[in-house]
């Protein structure tokens, strides 16, 4: 059975929010939109975002890390938001495991946002219905978009390629390999929600400088004895001083 999911590399994310804005741009005009903004130009603006980045510090100076933590619906395999829904509006798709809300059935009772331990739900103040990350279901199942673009908008936007997308039930998929080989972990496993989305941990970066890196034993001028070719039209602009 397919279970589509995101795998987010916390070692790479720099908190640029490109995933946040690209998510809103696609989804406000997509099947789940519009994503409403309250007081967009006034005091205390607040709006619907399916994806947010929380930034926090860990440790004490100078042993500090600043962690940028993208948060969206984790598309749990056992989603607590589904059984609490009195109308059946909150559901998990059988064919690909995406958790969605049927706006036509939703009565805005917010039981699901109380049930979700991850705070992933976003109440739409205009339509009075619950909304959430759709994993860009209207992109990933599209038959008209070019094949490489059938990915969530956030994945396509990430300049650091910190976001992977795929089927976590396929052991050979890129996301499954990343989880297996790079220590991917789910959030709050003690809730037994079995989140489909996983995070890849921060890694300690170490640089080892070898002596041969400092003194080039293979200096090409000593090996082939050839000098670089001279400029063809006199001195170059970058180099005329020498």
């Amino acid at each position: 059975m397919t279970q589509l999911a995101l795998v987010i590399d916390l070692n790479v994310c720099v908190g640029c929010h490109a995933c946040v804005t690209s998510c809103k741009q696609w989804n406000t005009s997509g099947a789940a939109g519009p994503l409403v903004d309250d007081q967009p130009y006034g005091k205390d603006p607040s709006g619907t975002f399916f994806n947010r980045v929380q930034t926090f510090e860990v440790g004490e100076f100078p042993n500090t890390q600043t962690v940028h933590f993208p948060k969206s619906c984790l598309h749990c395999e056992d989603p607590p938001c589904v059984p609490v829904c009195p109308t059946g509006a909150s559901y998990k798709r059988v064919q690909d495991g995406i958790v969605l809300v049927d706006y036509d059935k939703c009565i805005g009772c917010k039981y699901c946002s109380w049930a979700c331990p991850y705070g992933a739900r976003e109440f739409d103040e205009e339509r009075k219905v619950m909304s959430k990350c759709t994993l860009c279901v209207d992109r990933v199942t599209s038959t008209t978009l070019p094949e490489p673009e059938r990915k969530p908008a956030c994945v396509l936007a990430c300049p650091a390629s910190a976001r992977l997308f795929g089927d976590v039930h396929d052991p050979d998929s890129a996301v499954s390999v990343a989880i297996r080989e790079r220590g991917g972990y789910p959030l709050m496993p003690e809730w037994n929600t079995r989140p489909a989305n996983h995070y890849l941990p921060r890694r300690r970066t170490q640089i080892t400088v070898h002596a041969e890196d400092l003194v080039r034993v293979d200096n090409p001028l000593k090996i082939d004895g050839q000098q670089p070719e001279l400029p063809q039209h006199g001195a170059g602009r970058e180099d005329y001083a020498t």
Binding site: P62, Q65, E126
Partner: protein, 268 residues
């Protein structure tokens, strides 16, 4: 030839990016700077620096990199102003000045001065408290955010968040103007040259290249008094007025491509 990227050199010349197909050598020793210095030393014919700047050019146009305390710092009492103040642009707004954008301003609605926790507590400034940051040129009231990710001798904030009341067509009580702030008030555009007081002021730029020396300002911090208003300072005397003919801002909005505004406009 193995020391340079011959393929790139051929392509770059063919594509017109470079005139010549010669190796690109990074100049650690800069002959360009040395020519300025030779001129200042009177050893180079042609254009000469003004006499009052000869010594400065001779010193700082060194053809080799060297460290010196920033010129503004040399002219500042660093005992009274012990901290460096720097800014950086919010990544979410990079390559964009449109921080009044309805989505971007939700990501950074206002800014804090990020101060190392120990530095802030030494001055009696609590996390989230109102405080003053003062340079020899001006002062700003802002909110403090304790941080472990900033060096104790440096304070920083996001730039371009703070706005005058009513600016950018935001509401007069928008967070950007009531809680946001700019460090611009702490920064002088001109360098106080002690040795050349009679001379025209010099731009606050490092000798080469002409990088605006925003990172050279020195500041001190102290808590705001309990009876001070909980708002950033300075504040505009009057909120900026809307441009005539400009539509009122909506109180709620939802974009849907092809349909424009998904919600009706509500006049404030």
């Amino acid at each position: 030839m193995r020391n340079w990227n011959d393929g790139y050199m051929r392509w770059a010349q063919g594509a017109g990016l470079r005139r010549d197909r010669d190796p690109i050598v990074i100049h650690l020793y800069s002959e360009f700077l040395q020519r300025f210095r030779l001129a200042a030393q009177g050893k180079h014919k042609g254009k000469q620096p003004p006499d009052r700047l000869r010594q400065r050019v001779q010193t700082y146009f060194d053809p080799l990199p060297f460290y010196y305390a920033p010129l503004e710092e040399q002219a500042t009492d660093t005992t009274r102003y012990p901290l460096n103040a720097v800014t950086q642009r919010p990544m979410a707004m990079y390559h964009s000045w449109d921080s009044q954008n309805a989505w971007l301003r939700q990501i950074h609605t206002y800014n804090f001065l990020m101060v190392n926790r120990r530095t802030a507590l030494a001055e009696g400034i609590a996390d989230g408290a109102w405080m003053w940051v003062e340079s020899p040129w001006g002062k700003v009231r802002c909110q403090c955010r304790h941080s472990e990710a900033v060096e104790p001798g440096t304070v920083w904030t996001w730039n371009a968040i703070g706005k005058a009341a009513g600016a950018w067509s935001l509401a007069p009580d928008a967070n950007e103007s009531r809680q946001g702030f700019l460090l611009n008030h702490l920064i002088r555009e001109e360098l106080p040259l002690q040795a050349a007081r009679a001379a025209p002021p010099s731009p606050t730029a490092t000798p080469s290249p002409a990088r605006p020396a925003w990172y050279d300002v020195r500041v001190r911090i102290y808590p705001a008094q309990a009876d001070e208003p909980g708002a950033s300072w300075p504040q505009a005397a009057q909120p900026m007025q809307p441009v005539p003919g400009m539509a009122a801002a909506p109180e709620r909005r939802g974009w849907m491509a092809g349909l424009g505004l998904g919600c009706k406009k509500v006049t404030r």
